[in-house]
Symmetry: C2
Subunit: 385 residues, 2 copies
DNA sequence: CGGATATTCGGACACTTGTCCGAATCGTAT
DNA sequence: ATACGATTCGGACAAGTGTCCGAATATCCG
C-alpha cells in the first residue's frame, strides 16, 4: 500500500445523525418529472452516408467539406454547416483511427482516486494533456484486475500510459513487457524503483533530509517518528533520509529516534496521529520534535499534543509531509515538504509525449524531482526541559 | 462559478522556502539512466493479420480462437495463447466498435478536478462504472471549449455522458440538443435547474433547513451567514432553505441574519472564513451562531473566532456544509451537512446506465437527494450574553 | 448557344475485425 | 491404401471514414 490507507466509507459519519441517513437504498430519493418540449422529427444520423443523404450531397463531397478541402462552393459549405447544426452529426472517431489517425488518447492508471495527492496529480496531468490536445482515459488499478487495465488501454490504442501511485512490482514487469511489445510509451509517477520503468518521482530521501536538517539547525536532537513503520519504498526512502541527515551530524539513528507506531492501528491518519501523540506524552516525551510521515498524521499529532496540554511549537515541534492545504488549517500552521507536483507531472508528461510516434527508448529514464521545505509555525527552537 | 473559487496555483506555498523552489523549469530535476536488457527480436504486431502470420495460422482461425468458438484443436488454441504471451497482441477496440459493438465508455465531464467534493464524486462514479464494465473518458469543461468536449465525447461514441459540477446554462441547451440528436443518454450531477436535463442533485434547501432547525432548537435566534453572497443556484437554494426554516418559526430573515461577505475577497475559503469571523467580532458579535456555506469557510471561521478569544461553541456555534474529512480535524469538530454522495452518484449511474441502448426518455428526470445533518461539537445551546 | 471552367458525383480502396462458407487438408479408422 | 470426419484455410463481406479519380453536371463567359 501507499502512504495512504485504503478509503474508508463513511469515515466522516461519526456524528449523530438527526435526519435521513439509514443508508439502505433510494427510498430517500424523491423523483420529479418536469415537462419538456416534444422531440423534433430529425432523423437519427449514424454515419456520413446517412448524413450526406440528409444534406442531399454526395458522401465524398460532404467529407471534403468536413475536412476543409479546397474547390468547394461557399453555398455547399453552408449547406453542410447548416445540416450539422440541425442533426448534430459528428464523425466516428473509431473509423478515423482505423484510417491511421492517432487516437490522441492517453491512459491514466491510478492506484486509487480517493486520496488528495493522487487526484491532484491526475488533475494536473489531465490539464497538461488537454492543453496538448490529448484526452484522458482513466482506470483504477486493482491488484486483481491490473492486467486487464493495461490490456484495455492497449486495445483502445492509447498513445501512451501514465501510472500514478504505488503498484505491485512483480505484476508490473509483465505490463512493461506488453507495453514494449506494443511500442506504447509509459511513465510511472511516484513509484520509484520499478525495474525497467520510466519513472518520475519525488526525492523523498532529500525531502526528509531537508526536514531533519531544519530541525537539527533548530537544536533538536531527539525525534519521535510518526507513521514510518511501513515497508513501502516511499516510506523506506524517507527513513533513509532521516538516517543520512543524522549521520551527517554524527548522530546515531537508533539513539535519536523513537516510534510508537506499533501501538496503534492506522485506519484514519488524522486519528492515528492523535493516538501517536498521546503515546508520546504518556511515555514521558522522550523527544523535542515529532516528525510525521504526512500532513494528516502531523495535524492529528498537533491536536493530540494540545489536548494533552503540550504546546506546539513551544514545547514540541511538529513536521508534516506533502504540503497540502491542510497545512494552513492547523494551529499553528504546519511546516511541511512540498511535493512540487507541477514539476513532477510536467516532467512525466514531457516524458510520454516526447515518445509518442517515435521508436521507444531502449533504456528507461528515471527523473528525480527535488522537493522544497516549507517552514511555517509548527517548528521552533528546541526547548531545554 | 461553483461553491469553490478557481484553483490557485501555489496556494500552499505561503511559507519560507529554504531549499529549491525557484520555479523556473527542470534544472532542478536530476536525470538518471539505468541499465536494462537489450530489446528482444519480437516483431511489432499491429493487426490480427500480422499476428496470424506470426502464429502460422489463418487469420480466421486465430479469430475463432480469440472469440472462443468451438471446433478447435487444443494444440491450436495453445499455440495462439503462447503467441499472445510472446507478442502482447491485443485486438483493436476501434475495429470492434465498427462492427457494431458498443464502446462501453462513458464520458465524464467535470467543472474542475481541483475541488475535493467533485473529485470524490468522480471517484465514486468511476468505481461504479468500472463495476459495470464501463470505462471512463474524462474531460474538464471550460467555458470556451465546452462544445468541443461534448462533440469529442460524441465522436468517441460514448454510451452516455455524466456532467459533474456547475455549468453554463445557456450553452447547456445546445449540448442537450446534440445529445438528443445522437441518442446519447446524459445526467447532470449537482447542478439543479438546467431545463430539459436529467438531473441528480442534493436538496440544498432541505440541507440548510436541517442546519437552521438544529440551531433554532438550540435556542439560537440571530445568525451570521458566511459566504452566501453568491448568485449560483446552489447558493440561492441554501439561502432559501434558511429563509424557510426561519419562516417556519415565525422569524424574519432580514432581522435574524447578518453578513459581512462584501467586506472581503473570496480567494481561499479557509482564509475567507477567518476574515469573516473577525468582521463578526469587530462588529460586536450580533449573532450567536455562524452558518457557513461550506466546511472550509467554517473551519476558517472557527480559527478566526478562537484567535479573537471567542470560544466555540460556548460563545458562538459554527456550522459547515459538505461533511468533508476536514470536519474531524477542526477543534471542536464541525457540525456539517453530509452530501450523501454515494446516493447521488449511485442514482446518477442508474439513470444513465438504464438508458443505454434504449430509446431516450422524452421527458427529463430530476432526482433530489436528501442530505443528512451530522451534529458534532461546534454547535451548542445559545448562550445569553 | 457553344465552349471552357468550376463543381459535384459516385465508384473504388484502405484501415481492422468477426463471421460465414465452400474448399482444402489433416488425422484416423477401416 | 482408402474413406470419412475433424480441422483449417482463405476469400468475401460488413462496419464508417478519408481520399483518389474519371465521369457527369453546373456555371460562367463570350
Amino acid at each position: 500500500m501507499s502512504e495512504y490507507p485504503p478509503p474508508q466509507r463513511g469515515r466522516t459519519d461519526a456524528g449523530r445523525h438527526l435526519t435521513g441517513g439509514d443508508g439502505c437504498g433510494y427510498h430517500r430519493v424523491r423523483l420529479l418529472v418536469s415537462t419538456s418540449q416534444p422531440p423534433k422529427s430529425i432523423p437519427q444520423i449514424r454515419s456520413s452516408t446517412e448524413f450526406a443523404r440528409y444534406v442531399g450531397l454526395a458522401r465524398t463531397t460532404v467529407s471534403r467539406v468536413l475536412n476543409g478541402q479546397p474547390g468547394l462552393k461557399k453555398k455547399t459549405i453552408d449547406r453542410v454547416q447548416q445540416a450539422i447544426q440541425e442533426t448534430g452529426f459528428v464523425p466516428n472517431a473509431y473509423a478515423l483511427h482505423l484510417k491511421g489517425k492517432r487516437t490522441a488518447t492517453v491512459g491514466i492508471c491510478m492506484e486509487t482516486l480517493f486520496t488528495p495527492p493522487i487526484t491532484r496529480k491526475l488533475a494536473l496531468l489531465q490539464r497538461r494533456l488537454r492543453d496538448d490536445n490529448f484526452s484522458s482515459l482513466i482506470e483504477v488499478y486493482e491488484s486483481g484486475g491490473a492486467r486487464n487495465v493495461v490490456r484495455h488501454f492497449l486495445s483502445m490504442r492509447v498513445d501512451a500510459i501514465a501510472f500514478i501511485g504505488h503498484f505491485d512490482e512483480e505484476q508490473f514487469a509483465g505490463h512493461l513487457a506488453e507495453l514494449r511489445a506494443n511500442a506504447t510509451p509509459h511513465v510511472v509517477i511516484d513509484h520509484l524503483g520499478i525495474k525497467g520503468a520510466n519513472t518520475v518521482a519525488l526525492d523523498r530521501v532529500k525531502g526528509m533530509e531537508f526536514v531533519m536538517n531544519h530541525l537539527l539547525d533548530l537544536g533538536h536532537r531527539t525525534f519521535g517518528l510518526l507513521g514510518f513503520a511501513g515497508t513501502v519504498r516511499s516510506t523506506r526512502d524517507r527513513v533513509r533520509g532521516i538516517r543520512q541527515a543524522l549521520a551527517g551530524r554524527g548522530l546515531d539513528f537508533d539513539q535519536c529516534t523513537f516510534s510508537w507506531d506499533h501501538l496503534h492501528p492506522r485506519n484514519n491518519d488524522f486519528e492515528f496521529g492523535g493516538l501517536l501523540a498521546k503515546s508520546f506524552v504518556v511515555h514521558g516525551r522522550p523527544a523535542t520534535a515529532l516528525v510525521a510521515l504526512n500532513d494528516e498524521i502531523a495535524a492529528g499529532a498537533i491536536r493530540g499534543l494540545q489536548e494533552q496540554g503540550v504546546r506546539v511549537p513551544a514545547d514540541v515541534s511538529v513536521t508534516g509531509f506533502n504540503n497540502q492545504d491542510l497545512c494552513l488549517m492547523t494551529t499553528p500552521e504546519l511546516t511541511s515538504v512540498d511535493q512540487r507536483m507541477e514539476e513532477t507531472v510536467s516532467a512525466a508528461a514531457d516524458l510520454i509525449l516526447s515518445q509518442i510516434g517515435k521508436p521507444l527508448r531502449a533504456r528507461p529514464v528515471v527523473r528525480m524531482v527535488e522537493p522544497a521545505l516549507v517552514v511555517r509555525d509548527s517548528t521552533a527552537a528546541a526547548q531545554a526541559r
